[in-house]
């Protein structure tokens, strides 16, 4: 496996380096698109490679990991790791992505890389069976527990509409860098779970979201702490029966990865990958209305990358 990983990584890095010179090959170069200021798009959409190669290529388009993580900083990565399901079920963010991100942060000089999720299933089983724990620890990161109220701290959220106050995991409140790393799935209540919905794993009381207008609270949760970087695993999204999923028949082959700084734009793009119409996912509209990001993708600087 190691040699295979090395070759994958090699291709990924190679693809990343080839980007600037070969950018004319990609559809993003068309003239009527919004200009990408300083070569940094707010949304990068990558497709056609394996997850790690797509992450490398996408990060390169955003200026590399060093534009997000500086030496000596503490980093918290929040994957979706909520379910006691194996990596092949796409119920959780793929461990290869999380592990690779931990590695990149460490290489960028991060003093500490922490990973956690407030899981729905038993946290120890979810951490272990998702493969995320192994991937994180192998790359020098640290899995934090989020299973007890003592790990959370009261946090005021004055600009929110409903979620004015929440108990937020201390790692989110205290870390220098917050990387949001969810997986794209259908959701039986919120209709879709991607970057914004992932914030429900940052707080202690998820029930508050459900009982105080789920969509509004999801939009409000962006304000708890806006992620410095969002990476959305859309390699094999769950199209139905989400967010836990029943079997592999629920998955579609999209082979994509979305990343960027505009959380609303990523979710709006992700919603289209699942075939949702405009306005189907109310929390996207609410977040745009609150000025948390741009949902109209024609106004977003998108870099589209297709890996061979």
């Amino acid at each position: 496996m190691k040699r295979r990983d090395f070759i994958k990584l090699g291709f990924g890095v190679g693809a990343a380096f080839s980007l600037d010179t070969l950018s004319g090959l990609f559809p993003s170069a068309s003239a009527d698109e919004p200009a990408i200021v300083g070569g940094k798009p707010s949304l990068v959409a990558v497709r056609g490679g394996d997850r790690v190669a797509m992450l490398d290529a996408g990060l390169a388009a955003l200026g590399g990991i060093t534009s997000f993580v500086k030496a000596g900083q503490t980093v918290v990565i929040k994957p979706n790791c909520g379910w006691d399901k194996g990596p092949e079920m796409s119920a959780n963010t793929h461990p290869s992505l999380v592990g690779h991100m931990v590695k990149l942060c460490k290489e960028a000089g991060a003093s500490k890389v922490m990973v956690f999720d407030h899981t729905c299933d038993n946290w120890q089983r979810s951490y272990r069976n998702s493969g995320i724990q192994e991937a994180v620890e192998k790359n020098g990161g640290e899995m934090l527990s989020a299973a007890d109220e003592s790990m959370y701290r009261d946090h005021e959220n004055p600009s929110a509409r409903n979620l004015k106050k929440a108990k937020v995991h201390t790692a989110i409140l205290d870390s220098d860098v917050f990387i949001n790393m969810p997986v794209l799935k259908h959701h039986g209540g919120a209709r879709m779970t991607a970057c914004m919905k992932n914030a429900m794993g940052l707080v202690w009381d998820r029930g508050f979201f459900h009982s105080h207008d789920l969509h509004q609270c999801i939009a409000d949760a962006v304000l708890l702490r806006k992620p410095d970087l969002n990476v959305l695993d859309a390699f094999a999204p769950m199209l139905r029966n989400g967010p836990k999923g029943k079997d592999e028949n629920d998955l579609i082959a999209t082979h994509s990865l979305l990343l960027g700084t505009d959380i609303v734009a990523i979710d709006a793009a992700a919603s289209k990958l699942l075939g949702n119409a405009e306005g189907d996912v109310r929390h996207i509209d609410l977040a745009a209305e609150m000025g948390l990001g741009e949902k109209d993708l024609s106004k977003v600087a998108i870099r589209r990358i297709t890996l061979a």
């Binding site: 959409a45 006691d84 299973a147 039986g188 209540g189 028949n249």
Partner: protein, 584 residues
């Protein structure tokens, strides 16, 4: 040498026993960590009754060992026996420290009281026929220790770990046994206090395992024999004997009470040791004292009575195990009929079967990763006190987990392979629409469906109406069309009437907004749960996740007889958008 072997084995067993109940990382059990629990006599006996092959092997081994050596189980394997030995050892040390010689009456030969232990054993067997394992749970030495581990040692270990690691890794559950905790602790303190007082009193008067093994150890092949020719009557053996079973006057060891600790062998410098004795008869005793005769007759008559009882009980058990298969199947269509019962774990097959088998040792409770298994107080009735039930306010039954069946040493929870467990219906969900957040607040929720592993609970888009009083012309069209009679006209003549919807009655059919001629009645599309009962396995994830309080919108009705669920199968999902380019 014999004693050293005993102590080594006992310490190993005790360490494995304790660690079997400390479950800090929620790892999948490999089967080896609960080996010691599987070697216990009553669990193995119950397992044999329930057709577990491994348990039958264990019973065979224990019986064979007893016939060969005597009650080795009591000193080598039984956790309560080992704990008593530790207490007895401390008592001796305590006496030494105080510079006192042991009170002369404390540990010397005591006349046997066989009628007492056989009566208790007999009552116990009758009680198994009448009320399952309710009484066994209080008397079985393994279960007594095991519950103490589950209720005290397990949370202690979790707290210790949390203290050392400085972050909470596992939530300790001190309150697990609630008001039963004093009883759980008391049940283990009583035998230990008796041991402090005068040795293995519990084992030889109360313990049903001790009584049963006593029947098998009347003349073991390798039994302790005193050699009158070399014995100097120094009484070292008598002082060493925890079971008070060495009758020095008659050079005799009462093998029915001897727990094979071999302390006497170590204490004796004059040749006391287990010897091969190929004779069914016990040693001919030199008839010196008159007190011997009545004791012997009591033993054999009570033995006979007991054997009769044993036969009765065996047949009673056989018939009762047939009978329960006809139990109430629990029609999925009729909700609420089993409301009185608690929900028994998957693999227990039915509540009556479960209550007849489980001795409430609590091993599954400590092994359960979601903590949904909690000791019942009165929920099963008197028969089920301390036995595990599923408590959906604490957790829910993990879909991809079958650990409880794999750790149960008694066959009370049979091991199910994962595919079978995932289809076992232990309860049935009920959706109380009028309490649901979607219905009450007209906002989407989905907490229940997102947790449902079988998709018995899915969401469906429905039309939830609302009336704009400004536009309403009070024409009554919506009131007349509503199939639920959920709409009425409110207001007064001066300010104008308008339609008002009773959200507890509305079924979101959307007929009112279609009928409305003025555009006042609009509807929004919201997802609301729909239940397919045939798919529901009763794992309780929906109830656990439901945010509605105090009464949750999702409720679970126990199935007293577990059934098999259907499985929803769907064709592979098709990509809704082009895979060649981004849809944005």
């Amino acid at each position: 040498m014999w004693r050293a072997v005993r102590i080594t084995v006992a310490i190993t067993v005790m360490v494995l026993f304790v660690f079997g109940f400390i479950n800090l990382s929620n790892r999948e059990p490999t089967g080896w960590e609960h080996l010691v629990e599987r070697l216990q006599f009553i669990p193995a006996l119950l397992g044999t009754w329930r057709g577990v092959f491994g348990a039958a092997v264990v019973v065979g081994i224990l019986v064979a060992l007893t016939l060969l050596f005597g009650r080795v189980y009591c000193s080598f394997v039984c956790p309560l026996g080992i704990l008593q030995d530790i207490v007895i050892r401390q008592r001796r040390r305590f006496d030494r420290l105080r510079g006192k010689k042991r009170n002369g009456t404390a540990l010397r030969f005591a006349q046997p009281l066989p009628w007492l232990r056989y009566t208790i054993l007999g009552i116990l067997l009758v009680s198994v026929f009448l009320s399952g394992t309710a009484l066994v749970a209080w008397l079985d030495p393994y279960s007594i220790c095991a519950r103490f581990m589950a209720g005290v040692i397990n949370p202690l270990a979790a707290n210790a770990q949390n203290f050392v690691e400085r972050e909470v890794e596992t939530q300790p559950a001190w309150g697990r046994y609630g008001w039963l905790l004093p009883a759980v602790v008391g049940a283990i303190l009583l035998p230990l206090a008796l041991a402090w007082w005068r040795g293995r009193v519990y084992c030889n008067t109360i313990c049903p395992v001790g009584a049963f093994l006593a029947l098998l150890s009347r003349a073991p092949l390798f039994r302790l024999r005193m050699d009158p020719s070399s014995c100097v009557r120094c009484a070292n053996c008598v002082r060493a004997c925890k079971a008070q079973c060495i009758d020095l006057k008659n050079y005799r060891v009462d093998t029915t009470r001897c727990v094979n600790c071999y302390d006497c062998v170590s204490a004796c410098e004059h040749g006391l040791s287990p010897k091969f004795t190929f004779s069914r008869r016990r040693e001919e005793l030199p008839k010196t004292k008159n007190a011997k005769e009545p004791a012997e007759t009591t033993t054999s008559s009570s033995r006979r009575a007991f054997l009769g009882l044993l036969a009765c009980s065996a047949s009673a058990l056989a018939t009762s195990s047939c009978r329960e298969e006809e139990g109430n199947p629990g029609n999925p269509g009729e909700l609420g009929e089993n409301q009185d019962s608690a929900i028994s774990p998957p693999g227990s097959k039915s509540v009556p079967r479960f209550l007849d088998t489980c001795t409430a040792c609590g091993l599954c409770i400590t092994a359960c990763p979601t903590r949904v298994l909690q000791p019942a107080s009165w929920q099963y009735g008197l028969r089920g006190v301390m036995k595990p039930q599923l408590d959906f306010t604490v957790g829910f039954c993990n879909f991809d987990c079958n650990i409880c069946g794999r750790v149960c040493p008694e066959g009370a929870i049979m091991p199910l392979d994962l595919a079978e467990k995932q289809r076992t219906q232990i309860a049935l969900a009920e959706f109380h629409r009028e309490r649901c957040i979607v219905q009450q607040h007209y906002t989407e929720c989905g907490a229940c469906t997102e947790h449902c592993p079988t998709k018995a609970l899915d969401t469906r888009e429905e039309q939830f109406p609302s009336c704009n009083p400004e536009l309403c012309i009070a024409c009554n069209a919506c009131v007349e069309t509503c199939p639920q009679k959920a709409i009425s006209l409110v207001g007064d003549e001066s300010q104008g009437m308008h339609a008002q919807i009773d959200r507890t009655k509305c079924i979101a059919c959307g007929k009112c907004s279609q009928a409305c001629p003025s555009g006042a009645m609009t509807s929004q599309r919201l997802l609301i749960p729909v239940l397919t009962p045939e798919l529901c396995i009763g794992c309780g994830a929906c109830t656990y996740a439901c945010p509605v309080r105090p009464k949750r919108a999702m409720q679970l009705t126990p199935r007293r007889q577990h059934l098999t669920a259907e499985v929803k199968r769907e064709a592979p999902a098709e990509n809704p958008v082009s895979t060649d380019e981004f849809p944005f």
